[in-house]
């Protein structure tokens, strides 16, 4: 898939995510919830989040597993406009794409070099629709993209020393419903069920003297449905901890987890 198209897809997802929880949110939420929530002040929390990511992927006719580790700074806005919880994050991540074979190049390259570091950015939002008893239910959506830094490798054993350059990236977008329980004082457990798509590209170029080639592999996540379980733990008046586990049932052992520590202002 051309890079342009990938980027187009990302913008589309971003637009969908934003539209889902921003545009209709303000009015509906206000109607449902009366003025009580609007009267609550918006708050911001800042912190660090660590993500572990393990998900089945497909490229060409082959399956493999994408493994990622991300460390990000995150800002969480609560009750923004009385309607929406928004989180923005950015940081560094490393992704392991071992097993991808670039057979269209003059010299076929089999990538087994492990992790590549890159930049992670994304945003997410929860849009509560219903408050019933101690439960809060609504829509959730998030988008994350990882852009790998170029990694160069020496190609040895040929008449001239060669070089290969790897440039991977991927993005993941999820949208679905969530439920949170607000009945406890210091803990708010929650779960969500989302449709989660992962797509990306792995671009490889090789050069040996004047022999060169470039190949791009399309990578797709193998499961669509994901289920997350987590909780917001209030450690002190200002300090919050949020562990989350995510499962991809269609990907058998596809799983992800995150741990975030936040300070509220």
């Amino acid at each position: 898939m051309p890079l342009k198209e990938i980027r187009g897809q990302r913008f589309l997802w971003l637009a969908i995510v934003l539209m889902v929880f921003m545009a209709p949110g303000l009015k509906t939420q206000a109607n449902l919830h009366g003025e009580s929530n609007l009267n609550q002040a918006s708050t911001w929390e800042f912190g660090l989040r660590f993500d572990l990511f393990n998900r089945g992927t497909k490229w060409d006719q082959t399956t493999s597993t994408l493994k990622a580790l991300n460390l990000m700074a995150e800002a969480r806005g609560k009750n923004l406009g009385g309607t929406v919880d928004l989180n923005l994050f950015a940081g560094l991540g490393s992704t392991d794409l071992n097993g991808v074979v670039f057979s269209q190049l003059p010299i076929t390259l089999d990538y087994q070099a492990g992790r590549i570091t890159g930049l992670v950015v994304g945003l997410g939002a929860d849009w509560p629709l219903i408050y019933a008893s101690d439960f809060r239910l609504g829509l959730t959506a998030d988008f994350m993209t990882w852009i790998g830094f170029n990694k160069k490798f020496a190609i040895e054993g040929f008449v001239f020393p060669g070089e290969a350059k790897a440039e991977p990236d991927w993005a993941q977008a999820s949208g679905g419903i969530f439920a949170a329980y607000e009945g406890y004082e210091n803990v708010e457990p929650f779960f969500d069920i989302t449709v989660s798509a992962l797509w990306g590209t792995f671009n490889m170029t090789e050069n040996i003297q004047d022999l060169s080639g470039e190949e791009e592999k399309k990578i797709k996540g193998s499961g669509l449905l994901s289920i997350s379980l987590g909780c917001h733990l209030k450690l002190t008046e200002k300090l919050y901890l949020t562990p989350v586990a995510r499962f991809y049932p269609a990907s058998k052992f596809g799983l992800a987890g995150s741990l975030g520590l936040y300070y509220a202002f």
Partner: protein
């Protein structure tokens, strides 16, 4: 946390729950479907240009192979190895080493948790071979196993396969393809250096050629009735000497060259060609008397470049012929074929002098090939110069000869030496690459062949072997980035 909301919201709660149930019902079958999809020579034989007569003339030197030797060989070579599915590892098994303190019951629990269908222990080294349920992904299982603290190591069950070696009776005479070293089964029984060969068996693991990739042999013709060639020759070709459509070899040289390139492999008889599955197009420009004209070669180049039949087209042209004179018309014909994406390969000549023959010397369009021996030494007859690109074995090379010229009691094969015998090894490799990667142009294939050899002479490029003796495996095999 937020206060509970009014009763009217309970209806909304019911609606969301209904939506949730709906989503599960819709998405669950999709998950099940996805799961189901998962289951799833100083003996000179090169044709030379006679300046006085302005003709091509192939010299000849024949040695005979006695049937007795063949009978002995049949007993030695008795299997047909295969590459198998091409998978790197088994799709339904993993290998696991558990911590030694685990009880048998614990082991059973661990493996059941990972959907093991069955397992058995390799004693002494405490490694389990775990067979997975159908549809369970090896990659996912390994990812999960590697996170289990009870597991020391878990890895895939890699595929083991024999190097692709054909079962042809005379394959062990073909040191050029796979040199075992020691005393070689060739005339004079010289001692060879192990692996002084083109690594053909290693290359065949990654591709054996495409029948729709043709190698045009511009030479004295081909005996298309030869048992080791009959199935490999696309048609009777073109005879530019007699101006007809029957390029039968009334000498022996072209048939010998053709056999090196693409003799039928793995047919339990004769030899194996380098381009195992590719086919041959005979083009005759050398007469029965061993002479030829530049005009016929020029005509032949253009004809071969345009040849197509049932989806097959020429990808490589081998010219184990040459003359000492440059010629702009010849160069133009070479350019024509090259611009059509055809890889042109030619012998450097057999005078042992610093004079690379034409067309080999046309460096922009043609790979010029020198000859090495069974010890990776340059053959003393091999012409040299800056135009030489690569080298290949060309000393005592066994190949096919026309049945009609075979003496009674002998097999239609002979040993011959020359850069004529070296060039077809390179042409065969070019055809394998063209088959595996048809999108590559002639220029890229030429570079790949030039940049992947073993440096067997002076360090770096030299005028004798060019960039070195070709290494077909290096040119064909994936390079692992680590």
């Amino acid at each position: 946390m937020i206060e509970p909301e009014k009763r009217k919201n309970k209806n909304r709660l019911a609606a969301v729950l209904a939506l949730l149930v709906f989503l599960v019902l819709v998405l669950w079958p999709a998950r099940v479907e996805l799961s189901a999809q998962k289951k799833k020579i100083d003996k000179r034989t090169v044709t030379i240009y006679d300046k006085n007569q302005k003709k091509f003339t192939p010299a000849r030197n024949r040695s005979k192979l006695e049937p007795r030797d063949v009978a002995r060989l049949i007993k030695v070579i008795d299997y047909i190895p295969t590459r198998g599915s091409g998978e790197k590892y088994s799709r339904d098994k993993v290998l696991v080493k558990l911590k030694p303190e685990l009880t048998t019951q614990s082991v059973d629990h661990v493996f059941k948790a990972y959907q093991a269908k069955s397992y058995h222990l390799i004693p002494k080294i405490n490694i389990y071979v775990v067979r997975l349920e159908e549809g369970v992904s090896v990659e996912d299982t390994l990812s999960a196993l590697q996170n289990n603290p009870d597991i020391v190591y878990a890895g895939p069950d890699y595929k083991l396969h024999l190097c692709t070696t054909p079962n042809d009776q005379l394959f062990h005479y073909q040191y050029a393809l796979s040199n075992p070293g020691g005393v070689l089964l060739i005339p004079g029984s010289p001692t060879g250096k192990p692996q002084a060969d083109i690594k053909a068996t290693g290359a065949w693991d990654y591709g054996k050629g495409d029948p729709n990739v043709l190698i045009a042999v511009i030479d004295s013709g081909i005996d298309y009735t030869h048992p080791d060639l009959a199935a490999k020759v696309i048609d009777h070709g073109k005879d530019f000497v007699n101006d007809d459509d029957d390029a039968y070899d009334d000498g022996w040289h072209g048939t010998h060259v053709a056999g090196i390139i693409a003799a039928q492999a793995n047919n339990s008889e004769g030899i194996a060609g380098v381009a195992w599955n590719c086919r041959l197009l005979p083009v005759k420009v050398i007469s029965a008397s061993g002479e030829g004209d530049y005009s016929d070669l020029i005509d032949a180049l253009v004809w071969a470049a345009d040849y197509t039949k049932d989806g097959a087209r020429v990808g490589v042209i081998n010219m184990s012929i040459g003359g000492t004179e440059p010629d702009q018309f010849l160069e133009e014909a070479l350019r024509y074929a090259y611009n059509k994406g055809i890889v042109l390969v030619a012998a450097s000549g057999n005078d042992g002098t610093q004079e690379v023959y034409y067309p080999a010397a046309y460096d922009n369009y043609c790979l010029a090939v020198g000859a090495t021996d069974y010890n990776d030494r340059i053959a003393d007859f091999s012409n040299y110069g800056p135009e030489v690109d690569v080298a290949a074995p060309g000393v005592e090379i066994i190949s096919t000869i026309p049945v009609a010229v075979t003496e009674p009691g002998y097999l239609p094969y002979l040993f011959a030496s020359g850069t004529s015998m070296a060039a077809p090894h390179v042409a065969g490799l070019a055809a394998l690459i063209k088959s595996a990667k048809p999108w590559l142009g002639a220029s890229d294939i030429m570079k790949l062949i030039k940049y992947s050899p073993d440096d067997v002479e002076a360090t770096g490029r030299d005028d004798y072997t060019g960039y070195g003796r070709i290494n077909a495996k290096r040119a064909m095999a994936p390079y692992v980035l680590k």
